[in-house]
Structure formats: C-alpha cells, structure tokens
C-alpha cells in the first residue's frame, strides 16, 4: 500500500491521548471491557461509554467495584475466550497488582492502557512512571508511548502480539502530557486493520458446557515449567513486536520497533528516554546538533520484554550514554537506567559510561533546555556519578 493509499483510509481527528487510546480499543473490537474510573484515565472510560452509547463499540462494558475486581473480570473473560480491554492508572494499577501476576501466569492476552500517574502519598495527579514500572516483574509486556497517535497504534499492535504469545500487555501513556493533550491523530478505518488483528480464537477456553478449572494447584516442577514457558514467550514476543510494528507500518505508514534510534550514528552522547520525554529529547538533539554537539536519542518503546540486544546495538558507538528517567526506585535510582546498564554489561559493553539522570518527577515539566543541560553535563563528566543525577539541579 502506498502512503497515499494508506492516508486515504484514515481519518484525521483532534484527540487527547486518552481518547486516542479509546479509539485504538474500539478498532480492536474487544468483547468484554471491565473498567473502573480513576483520574487521569477516566476520559478513556468516558469515550468508550460514548462509543458504546452510539452503537459503535459492541463489547460488554462491566462496571466493577474496584480495579482488583476489574482485572479479575478481565482474566475470567479472557479465559472464556473473549478479547478484553481495560484501562487504569496509579492507585488503580497498584490495587490490581495481585491480579496482574494472575493474568500473566494464566496466559491471558489482556490489553490494558495505563496512564502514568504519581502514587500516594502525598496525593498527586501528575506524570510519573513508577506506577507501571512497579509492575515490571508481573509478566506483562509494557509499551511506553510517545504520543496519542502511538497509543492508538500500539493498542492494536499489543493485541496482535499478546494473542500470539499469550501474555498480557500494558500500553502506557503519561498523565496530562499525553493523556490530556490534544493532537492530530490518524484513526484508521476498521477495514484497514481488520486483517492485521483477526478475532481472538483460543483453542483452550472456559466453557460452562464443558466445565474445567484453570489456575489450580500445581506441583513445584509444573509451576517452574509455567514460569519458563512465560520467559520463552517473552523472548518470542520480541520478534512478534518487531513484526507487528513492521506490518502495521505497511498498512498505515507508521512503522514501530522495540526501540527507535535518532541521529545516533556518530553521536558522542546518546540520550535514552521513554514516553513523552523522548519527544523533548528529540527536540534537544536537533538543537544540540545545530550548536555542533554530536547528540543522539535512543527511545525505549518496549520495556518488557526488554530489548537488551537492540539497545546494546543502538548504543554501540556512543562515548557517553545519559538515561533520563521520570521515575526513581527509591534507594537505587532510575529504573530504565538500571535495565540499560544491566543489558550492556551482560552483552559485553559494560565499558560504555552510562549516566543516570532523574528528571520530571511528579510531573515537573522537562523542557528541551533541561535535556540539553543533561547532555552538556554528561559531556563534562569523565566517568560515572556516585548516584543518580537530579536534572532539575543542573
């Protein structure tokens, strides 16, 4: 399909990130949608209700009394063979935590949008990646989106990957910066993506006509085997993400990968960022290049499975790496940075200096100038810092 043809089959709408995610869900045709509202995710739910009211969304929306129950309903419906969508944020995903493990262990390809928001206490409604990163080890795939457009596109890709490897997937956007910001979004027509995401038809499903149980007690050996199978599925998911991103690009003109390298070829300093801050970093890179500083950006889109090899390849020529985290694992530091360092180290690239910068915690704005200061700071350091560097103090 030519870009012209692809453009003709998409409608340009002015949407917030939340509404774009809801349109992604609409195109995926979920059959069961248990959702509990929470700021800043609520507009996702509201848009879905509007679409259901208008008769466009035909899945059954279930009002639940908590996110924990919501995820329990997602798991049950998915085991019964339904395509399931939900969305949450912050305290909601924290409350779901127990069920997130259950969803992954039961191999239910649930797709969930999470709007990154600070966790209490103290109370806040602002962007912070800790809520979803805290769920790192639950067995969910995690995609971090840079824009509303990407949220829409990623929901569809996440279903395709999740249903092929039977693992749940989280599509993450940041509070306010993406969730509540209007931007032009290309919404594909349903027929354009129908072949990309055929109906979910698992061979194994719960059926009252043929009752059986799932998730019951296993032996230690069986439990281990289940966990190894999940690990194997995560490995396979790396390939599935790449293929889904490429195929989606052929259909819509927007291709995606697990990571995105921007002007990294000859870069002396490579910024590493995920989510909305990656766009700011891209702007900073352009300005630095104009000023004669060889900066680049490696954007992390996929966090689980962690694309370590792809990252190592992308950072291979860098003299300095500056990982910018909008999160802080208290007592350690930026979570993305830890993962990048571990991947480089295990792949024999441990000599590359990787500096950890914490920026924009609690929704503090990170303008391009701050990203530029991060780069100049990184250039000024010859080795490692003792701990994470606070970008707001540079």
């Amino acid at each position: 399909m030519t870009p012209m043809q692809a453009a003709a089959r998409q409608r340009r709408m002015l949407l917030t990130g939340n509404h774009a995610a809801a349109y992604g869900a609409l195109l995926a045709k979920p059959q069961v949608i248990p959702v509990y509202p929470i700021t800043p995710q609520t507009p996702v739910l509201e848009k879905l209700l509007e679409l259901a009211e208008a008769g466009e969304l035909t899945g059954e929306m279930i009002t639940v009394e908590s996110e924990h129950s919501g995820m329990a309903a997602c798991i049950s419906a998915s085991l019964a063979g339904a395509r399931v969508f939900t969305a949450t944020a912050s305290q909601g995903i924290a409350l779901m935590h127990e069920m997130l493990h259950f969803a992954a262990g039961a191999r239910t390809p649930v797709v969930m949008v999470n709007v990154n928001r600070t966790l209490a206490s103290p109370w806040g409604f602002w962007a912070d990646q800790t809520d979803s990163l805290s769920q790192r080890d639950t067995g969910w795939m995690q995609f971090y989106c840079e824009s509303g457009q990407e949220a829409l596109d990623t929901v569809l890709q996440a279903y395709r990957v999740a249903e092929s490897v039977l693992l749940p997937a989280m599509v993450v956007i940041e509070a306010m910066y993406i969730s509540h910001t209007l931007e032009p979004v290309e919404v594909p027509e349903a027929a354009l993506v129908a072949g990309f995401l055929p109906p979910f038809e698992p061979t194994l499903r719960l059926d009252p006509g043929q009752p059986r149980s799932v998730g019951g007690v296993t032996t230690p050996a069986q439990w281990r085997q289940n966990r190894l199978a999940m690990q194997e599925a995560m490995t396979l998911a790396l390939g599935a993400v790449a293929e889904a991103g490429r195929l989606y690009g052929e259909l819509t003109g927007r291709a995606y990968g697990a990571t995105e390298s921007y002007r990294t070829e000859d870069a002396e300093v490579v910024l590493v960022a995920a989510g909305g801050m990656a766009g700011t970093a891209r702007e900073a890179v352009d300005r630095l290049r104009q000023a004669g500083i060889a900066a680049g950006l490696l954007r992390l889109r996929l966090f689980r499975p962690f694309p370590g090899a792809e990252i190592a390849e992308g950072l291979a020529g860098a003299a300095r790496v500056a990982v910018v985290d909008r999160n802080c694992s208290v007592g350690s530091g930026g979570i993305f940075c830890q993962e990048v360092r571990a991947a480089l180290s295990s792949l024999g690239q441990g000599a590359v200096p990787v500096l950890s910068y914490i920026a924009g915690l609690g929704g503090v704005n990170v303008p391009p100038e701050r990203m530029m200061r991060i780069v100049t700071d990184a250039l000024g350091r010859d080795g490692m810092s003792a701990g994470p560097i606070q970008a707001e103090e540079l």
């Binding site: 009752p211 019951g216 199978a229």
Partner: protein, 560 residues
Amino acid sequence: MPRELGAPRPLGWSEPGRTTLEIKTGGWRTRRPMYVEATAPCRAACPAGEAVARWIELARRGELAAAWALIREANPFPAIMGRVCAHPCESACNRRQHDGGVAINALERFVGDWGLRHGARALPDLPRPGRVAVVGGGPAGLACAHALSRRGYRVRLYEAEAALGGLLRYGIPEYRLPRAVLEREIELGIGPGVEVLTGQRLGANLAWETVAGHDAVFLATGASLPLGLGVPGEQAQGIGNGLGFLRDLACGTRPTLGRRLVVVGGGSTAMDVARSARRLGVPSVSVVALEGREEMPALPEEVSQALAEGVEIRNGLGVARFVEGGGRVTGAAVVPAQLERGGDGTIRPLFRPGPSEVMAADSVLLAIGQRTDLAALPPPLRGARGLIAAGKDGATPTVPIFAGGDAASAERTVTHAVAAGMRAARRIDAVLSGGAPAAPAALPGVRALPAHVVAFAEINLDYFPRALRAGRPERPAPGRVGSFAEVVEGFSAVTAREEGARCFTCGHCVDCDNCLIYCPDMAVSRRDEGGYRLSTDHCKGCGLCAQECPRGALQMVSER
C-alpha cells in the same frame, strides 16, 4: 500470521469435566450457614398465625390468588380482617424500628378485596364420614365450619339469629364493615359441606341433645349478655346497652336517642356506638372512658376517626351514678377514676378523690363488655369467670365437645375468635381422623425454625432504603357522618405494590440471590424447584451469606 508463535499450552488447566469442585474446602469450617424458614414477628403476633410475610411476598409479585389462598389457610376472612382486625402484627413489625411498620392490615384488605371479586368458594378435599355441629355463626363458628368442611366433614352450623355473622353483622357498623363485604366473604367461606340452620337458639328452640348427638361439637355462642355498671340509677329509662343498640341498627331499627348521648366505655364498641349515633344525627355524643387517651383499648385510628366525626371523648372518668328525672335519665355523674386490673384479669373502676360533675344526657349507652350465657350448657362445661371451660385448643372436659371465641375466652377480638375456630377445627379433625394434623410444608431444602422469631438486628438494613409507610385513605369527616358508607378506602394496586415492597419478609427466603452472589467459594447454588442449596463440601463457614441475607433466612450455627 505468526499465530502459533510460542504459546505452549498453559499449565493449570484441568481435563474437561474436572473442576475445583474436587477440592473440598469444607473441612476448614467451624461454623456453617443453615438455610432456614424462621418466623416473622408479624406472624408471631397474629392471633390466627397468618404467614404474613409470605402472603405479602406473593402479593407484591402479583400472585394475588396464591396470596389469598395462603391467608385463608389460617384465616378464611381476609376482606373482613383487613377492615376490623386490631392488627397486632403491625405493632410487632420489625420495620417499625426503621421507618414505620408495614401497613399489613391495609394490604390484607387489598388481597381480601381481590378475593371478593375473583375468589372461588371453598370446596372440600375428600369427603369424610364425620358430622360436626357448630353452634354459633360468628367469626369463631364460621371459621371452624369453613375449616372442617374444607377437610371434608359435613357440618351443621346452628345460628340463633336470622343471618350468619354474629358480632360481625350485629356488632360492627356498616361504615367499618360493609354488609356486601361480610356477605360475600361468608359465602366464599362456607362451602357446600355446611348446612346452615338459622334461628336456632340453644336452650330455646335448639335442644342440647340435638347438638350433642353429632360426632363432634364446636360451641361458639359468643358473649351476648351485657354487663352493667352496678351504680345507682342504672335502671332509669334511656339507659341501654351499646351492643343492643348496634344490633337494632343492624336489623334496621333506628332507636331514638335524644340530643345528648353519653357512651360509657373505651373500647371499639364504645367508638362504634358513638360514631353510629353521630350518623343518626345525635348532635352531642360524649364518650366516658376510665382509661387515659393512649391506654384506650379502641385502636388509635378509631379514636381519631371518632374525634374527627365530632365525638367528644373524656378520659380518666368513671360513672358514679345516674341522675334521673321522672324515671328517665337526665345525666351521668362522673368523677375522676382509673382502671384497676385484678389479679385474675378482671377490670373494675377505681374512683379517685376529685370533683364530681354531672354530664347532661337524654340517653346513655353502656359499652363495657359482655358475658357468656352458660345457662343452656351442661354443668361440666360451665367454667370459671363466666366462660365455657375450654383449653387453648378448644377442648372441653367433655370430649368431643370443643369451644372457642368470646364464649370461651377473655381475648375478645374477631381475630382471636377466628383463630379459636381454626384451632378447634384442627383438633376436631385430629380426634375424628385419629391422626395428627400435617405439618405445613417449608420451602425445599429449608429447615423450619418456627420458634425463632426474627429480630430487628437480623435485618440487613443496607438493602432497605427508607420509604414512608403508606397512609390509608379516608373519606373526609364532614361528609361521612351523613351516612353509613365505608369510611376507610382501600389501597390502589400501585400503593399496595409499593407498601408490599416495604416488607422485610423477615425469615423467609425470596430468592434474592445475595447468598449466591456473595459466597466467595461458590458453595451456594440455585435449586431447580426454587431456593438454594448450600454445599457443605465447599463452604468454609465465612458467614458472608448470612451477613448479606437481608432477612435472616440464613443462620450461622456452630459445627460443634
């Protein structure tokens, strides 16, 4: 399409047909829920033992035929009850402690009135050989005749008056119990197995031997002899008894009362007499009662209706003597007094010091009670305190003679009389058939706990938003003293449904599914025939079902 990519068959799936039901977690339990049918306080308080909560439940589901039939198992006269019963059920109603007791009496009238229009006459089950004489066609006798004929016995019903009904016809004015209602309900209650013989007065034209010649006898001759005050001047002209006045009225006679009437008594009869007199055009009607306003045995609504109709009620006064002029009463001398209850249940006035006052009167009617005429009965049946000697079940010392109603009891309400007739019918049936009466069937799988009366604390109020009790519509007072047309109007279907929905249905499962929904172990399942099954294989005894049961139909019991 890489659909088969990875995705080995996940572990933890059982073979088809094998479910977690195999895991019997019931062994963890120290307590278990019991699915019960307990007694609602309304039923415990009902003299006739009507299954009130259950018939309200049927009525609100629109099953009026079933509701009518269920009331009639305990009380064949719901349309009459819904008008004249003193409704102790409403005083006992658990909802009183929430937002006002359920208007049970009005609902009973609603169901009863449905029966007047749509109900069918009582037909016997199977013919049985016994022949029973019932003496007295008032509420007790009618109820007994009804119940026995339903069971297949042939009944001779002897009535002294020209028509059936007893006190219902001759003692309760039409504005409270319209004649058409009375007659239709008697017609529905008395089946073809009952031979009615009117104008047969025991000791006059009906010989004791005739009665005693039956296989069993139920004596329900009522209490027809008026009590007097025993004060000076009582023999003066113009002093009569209230029940006699009401009887005359029922027979079409309109006694002359003058312009000023004093009625003595504080019960329903006093109210009936006073209000009837107002309807006959007596301008000044005063009731003199020993009791305070709140202690009067008349129902509060009767008192308020009487006041609205211009009756004056003077409380805490006793008649010391009557004043006469030329042999005719001209007034009643009243003094401060109160009611004194003797240890044996008798009541008498206790005069207190205070100013005497003469209330002018052209006539006086006494409504202070009646006694039973025992003269026609053989000596063993003449009991203490002027009543026929009979136990709670109606059995007299001379089996198979039974007695009930006002003739054998000091509890003189229509409902007590009906209950006595029904109880005696069960006993007579047991005696004649040689068997015990069958226990009423509970719901499937339900343990009947008749002795457990559901307390207010057992109701889960979260399921019962507050809703005001429906008022009973009344015709406006200014217009109603002009006639004997019925004062209180019935509920509309909408009001009846709304009021019925207020019933907690204490102790009786209504298939609300709460236990099913809340059981975390899915140990509760529906039965095909209605109700629920509790799996002791899986119940861990957490008690959520009993907590969430809105009405106490699940009770936790210890396993030990």
